[in-house]
Amino acid sequence: MSLLSIKGLSVQIGGTPVLQGIDLEIAPGQITAITGESGSGKSMTALAVMGLLPQGAAARGQIMLDGTDILQTPEAALCGMRGNTMGMVFQEPMTALNPVQTIGAQVAETILMHEKVAKTEARARASAMLERVGLQVGPHRYPHELSGGQRQRVVIAMAIAMRPKLLIADEPTTALDVTTQARILELLQGLVDEFGMGMLLITHDLAVVADVADQIAVMQHGRIVETSATADLLRNMRHPYTKALFAASTHAVQLPEAQVDEPLLQVQNVVRDYPVKRVSLFGPRPVFRALDDVSFTVGRGERIGLVGESGCGKSTLTRAILGLEPVQGGSITLDGAPVLQGGKPDLALRRKMQVVFQDPYGSFNPRHRVDRLITEPFFLLDNPPKGAARDQAIVKALTDVGLPAEAAGKYIHEFSGGQRQRLAIARALIVEPDLIIFDEAVSALDVSVRAQVLDLIADLCRKRPLAYLFISHDLSVVRSITDRVMVMQAGKIVEQGETEAVFADPQHPYTQSLIAAAPKLPELAHAADAL
């Protein structure tokens, strides 16, 4: 007898179909994962089960949860079910909690909504639940005092406070670091076992899916294209989209041999301190050491990766290398010249390095056309090309990243996420730099698009010796696109070496824990037997 049974669910918003003929079953104690790329309808399916479809959405079909059809249930009764029969955990733990209420009060609210109990008893049960989800801090704390992982535990405590029969988790670990992700997934699995809940796990991360789900549903364009038990699906994928999806996420790029002859970027004993709040009125102002004695070299034409969890100093290092902020000790030189001299960046030097950021949309002015956007770095040149030479440069940059020349006349909103990232790379290429810094440049992309962009990045350095500093939290990406890798923890580089050597045989305990925590997609065909 299944707990949740979705039959023929179709949803339209303003006449546009977003879900079409969804069929899905979840049994108690079972984890069913819905996976697929962005816009495939994963979250919409979850919201439909919660009865929280956006206003203006029209749903047909049947969603039977524990004997009740959600689509036929009036709003008042649904309020009685949400948080009680079904609970939900969301993607963004940083914003999912009310900033002005203590975490204890927010968990207790779930209990008070559904049971007539005294406030003190609800508070006590909330504290117990916070302890159950492994939160180390007391219930009187406010959300802003907690880390992302801790906040996600609070959200989970809120969702399971009434021991719901169904727990829906929408990308619950996407915003978290790998080690935190591993602990949260472990917690969720433990709760499913302990409470006998059914769980609907929504995630784009196939490695997570393969790791924890009993059953997998693959979605594309609002439809479920394939549903199967995890082991079966991994052994025998029937739908071409499923195959493409898994192939893309295990995609290995063909990185050309690096021809390293001379050092390009040299970072020596760099220290970066940020002043923090005074403890006493007089006395010296305390500092936070974001970079602690960081040294490394990137050779001309070398691809080097930088991995580490959020807050470890990756972004600080990027800003220091770009000469955007002064450092308190050590030196950073590019081609032998300091990146920041007398508080002023050297424009001639800046031309030699360019950066590609995570959010392509946010880094482009929406009111300018592409030709203007990608020629922005021309201001770094003493003698920027004009007229026909400029047009040629634009066409070359666009073709280099696999976009048509006509793209020059369009606005940024007319492009997809992957195309925008190509444009960001075109903008970096147009001044023919020696070094490109990729700051989480593929993290926001869907797997298939990410595979294409990674191929492009690998292709570019085949044509001429380009050096990359590839910063990412995603270990598998760094592994495939770099020659050497550095691991950063709390402002220090704890390990660096040949990429394959570090991944195959990590020396530092922190590197070991990172690699152990990262969910891995099994070697498909044969590994499924081992499950």
Binding site: R82, G83, A96, P99, V100, E109, Y142, H144
Partner: protein, 314 residues
Amino acid sequence: MIRYALGRFASLVISLIVASIVIFAVVEVIPGDPAAFMLGVNARPDTIAALRAEMGLDQPLIARYLSWVGGMMQGDFGMSWTYKTPVADLIGDRVWVSLPLAIYALILSTIVAFPAGIYAASRRGSAGDTAIMGATQLGVAIPNFWFAMILVLIFAINLRWFSAGGFPGWGNPLAAIKALTLPAVALALPQAAILARVMRSSLLDMLGEDFIRTARAKGLTRRQALWRHALRNALIPVLTIIGLQFSFLLAGGIIIEQVFFLPGLGRLIFQSISARDLIVVESVVMLLVFTVIMVNFIVDLTYAAVDPRLRVRA
């Protein structure tokens, strides 16, 4: 929390010192010698010099500034040159008109604006929302002196429910409140319109936040989510506006005080400027600045009470 409060208090003291220096300097550079002005155009230079000495105008600037500030701290605001009475008494009488008027108007505007803003936000896009937004547009557009005259026309002249102006004093509190009612309504209207709009947009911002979705997933109805989770978060911008409005209501009532013949601070400062009564001008402006800074201090403390994230920041 205590650190935060102390930090705000330190900035309050610094603001007051800077403000007093600026006010003193500005008033000193206003063209026109007060002594010459008081004695008229035919006064003999030695008479003017004598009056200047009597008023202390011949002292060095620093000495005059220090004696002014020192006096104020002890409640001695000096002697008005035109009224020949202590400035403290002049202000004392008028504060009891302007301050209650400002508070009255603020209460009225809040009472109207909060429900209107909350209603409009909770029924966004409905006819009620559209009507409220239209009304606030009108409220912002109508000049308050014109609205004041319309109020006088309807409620004082035609219906005779209120008197058209004047203030009977606080001997009979009910009569005093009644006399302040029309001016308070006139002052409150545009403020209420602005406040309702801020309340609505701030609430709508909050209703789109992730934690509202979380609250709904816990089983709260839309209404409950709005009242328990959105409202308190939406208060920060609203409090900012209330703080600004109070300052405006206290000092900015000049025109309304003229329309209703109220002996308030606005009229006093207007008359003092015309008469070059520098001591009164300085003192009233300083008092207004002091009030504004105090109100902002209180608003800052209220922020911290509303939002725990501000308590750690000093």
